[in-house]
């Protein structure tokens, strides 16, 4: 069987931010922040790629650069065969109908002065999808689809709970009938009981509408249940990428192994073999030479090669890529 062509393909995506200058903008700009530093992946239609990493790893910037909410410096992004990075403003706006984003903080991303109905009507009008009674019908159907009573259309964001606001955020993204959704920490701000409701909803919507997801999260336990494939980022680079089952069962990169071991398990009788990494994530302005993870790496075979030669992301098992010189001898 031939695999279907990917709906989303990202090749060697790069986004650097200039560091601050000295006082009053004088002097040489300081070091460059390599927020995204050569990221590549593909997502087949109707599948989910989980993009995980700690703060500062570049996962959010990657999501935004793909949608051109920040302009990437380099790389190639195609969505359904269209080259996103070369489009002019008008074509880009047309493409935005097909790719949408849901943000982490549903309070910060909803306009407090607009009712839910107005927020959902706006994209319909902008993209000339529907107005008048037709729009009203669509809004009611959207609300129902995300599990909200259509009466919520008259509510303002402050009248809604966190879970309800996130449902509105999802409805707004869906209103233009996109194929591809970037979900940027969509459940991180929610309480556990509500988080499960929203994850179930996202899974249902994906099934029903054949949506393709880039699911950005720091919580590996959440990603385990929703992703088909998982990519782990560290300091702007993907250090491991694998089908979810393989990544959770047999991680090859010591960072993935450490990250998994650090997730608290809700079972007081569980054997704890937590690997506690020393130190903090280094500054992306001054990434360490060689393997970016080497200063914190707990691998017993770590050697001079790790300190000098950056490991390439390479295939180490069927479908599994890892950027580690010792990927054949995982922790």
């Amino acid at each position: 069987m031939i695999a279907p062509p990917p709906l989303v393909a990202v090749q060697d995506l790069v986004k650097h931010f200039a560091g601050e200058r000295g006082w009053f903008g004088l002097g040489q700009p300081r070091a460059v922040v390599r927020a995204v530093d050569g990221v590549s992946f593909e997502i087949p239609p109707a599948q989910t790629l989980g993009l995980v990493g700690e703060s500062g790893s570049g996962k959010t910037t990657t999501g935004r650069a793909i949608l051109r909410l920040v302009e990437p410096d380099r790389g190639r992004v195609t969505v359904d065969g269209l080259d996103v990075l070369t489009l002019g403003p008008r074509e880009l706006r047309a493409l935005r109908r097909r790719m949408q984003i849901v943000f982490q903080d549903p309070y910060g991303s909803l306009n407090p002065r607009m009712t839910v109905r107005q927020m959902l009507a706006e994209p319909l009008a902008i993209h000339r999808i529907a107005t008048g009674p037709d729009a009203e019908r669509r809004i009611a159907a959207l609300l129902e689809e995300v599990g909200l009573d259509p009466g919520f259309g008259r509510s303002y964001p402050h009248e809604l709970s966190g879970g309800q606001r996130q449902r509105v955020g999802i409805a707004r993204a869906l209103s233009v009938e996109p194929q591809f959704l970037v979900l940027d920490e969509p459940v991180s701000a929610l309480d556990v009981s509500v988080q499960a409701q929203v994850l179930n909803l996202l899974a249902e919507l994906q099934q029903r509408r054949r949506l393709t997801y880039l699911f950005i999260a720091h919580d590996l336990a959440v990603v385990k249940h929703i992703a088909d494939e998982v990519a782990v980022m560290y300091l702007g680079k993907i250090v491991e990428r694998a089908p979810a089952l393989a990544l959770y069962a047999a991680p090859r990169h010591p960072y993935t192994t450490s990250l998994l071991s650090a997730v608290p398990v809700p079972d007081p009788t569980a054997q704890r073999n937590r690997i506690v990494l020393s130190g903090d994530v280094p500054s992306p302005m001054h990434p360490p030479p060689g393997c970016p993870f080497h200063p914190r790496c707990p691998h017993p075979k770590k050697n001079d090669r790790c300190r000098t030669e950056p490991p390439a992301l390479r295939a180490v098992a069927p479908g599994q890529l890892a950027a580690c010189h010792f990927a054949e001898e995982p922790l």
């Binding site: 988080q195 336990a221 249940h225 608290p264 809700p266 007081p268």
Partner: protein, 346 residues
Amino acid sequence: MTEPLLRVRDLKTYFVTEQGSGTARAVDGVSFDVRPGETLGIVGESGCGKTVTSLSILRLIPEPPGHIRPGSFIEFEGRNILTLEPKELRAVRGNQIAMIFQEPMTSLNPVFTVGDQIAEAAIVHQHLSRAAARRRAIEMLQLVGIPDPEERVDHYPHQMSGGMRQRVMIAMALVCHPKLLIADEPTTALDVTIQAQILELLERLQAELGMAVMLITHDLGVVAGTADRVVVMYAGQVVEQAPTVELFAHPVHPYTEGLLAAVPRLDAPSLSLRTGGRGRLHSIPGQVPAATAWPDGCRFHPRCPYAWDRCRAEEPPLLDASQGDAGTHTARCWLVTEPQRRTRRP
């Protein structure tokens, strides 16, 4: 059995809401004990009253709009904290009971060095000289695992990472060797690898200093790995209380049961949500009610899969559900008296 270090009885902390739409009964009759040297986990979702409980213990509730109702009782080492004079209260606060907060950036003062901030409590409470307090601050930085403490003592909070700032907060809290440390979501703002460092640090310091810890968190994973006993809060009340192992193995209250089932787990097989409802995460329907309008009867009944007439009409007290020693496991649920009703609704 040893005397508890802290005894909270029928604590009620209410707030008058801005719009005058009524009184928010944020904490509404909470009782529990903390024993010397133990870790007590207090678990609950946003709005359950766990933070207001901890702020009430230190009398940090802003009045108005808040007030602790008459009849509430908080006893620390035999003295009622709620009736202490301001001077006596200051001798307890930051000295014998210390607190660390979720946001290390907003809880540290940006215009003082971390050394000055750690030293302050030692100067105020233990009357150390400035030089001695500075030496003490360096010792504390070393204790909490900050490299180059002699240099770091003169740094400002913005020069440090989130994990380091949380270590500084811990150093500040522990400088007077408190008997009780209240840690309110101490790792929630941190990345998981940094969280592991901080939890390990707290565990080590607790063993070294022999203090009791009240760990407030929404994360059942954190509680499972650290607490000796757990108090579960919902809608301003304690709904279940048990030793940690017992609570996770035999949750009695349907809220505890639902919460445990709703946590996406790393140690469980993937539910493959994507393949269209072959697997679904368990969720608790509905949402937490507002503190101005708790439901009648059992406050969890609108979301409870087992609720029957009695639950809607009559509020259950904390009932003894212990399998071992009496009183070690209690739950605010009528299922304790009618366990045969614990059947899934179709």
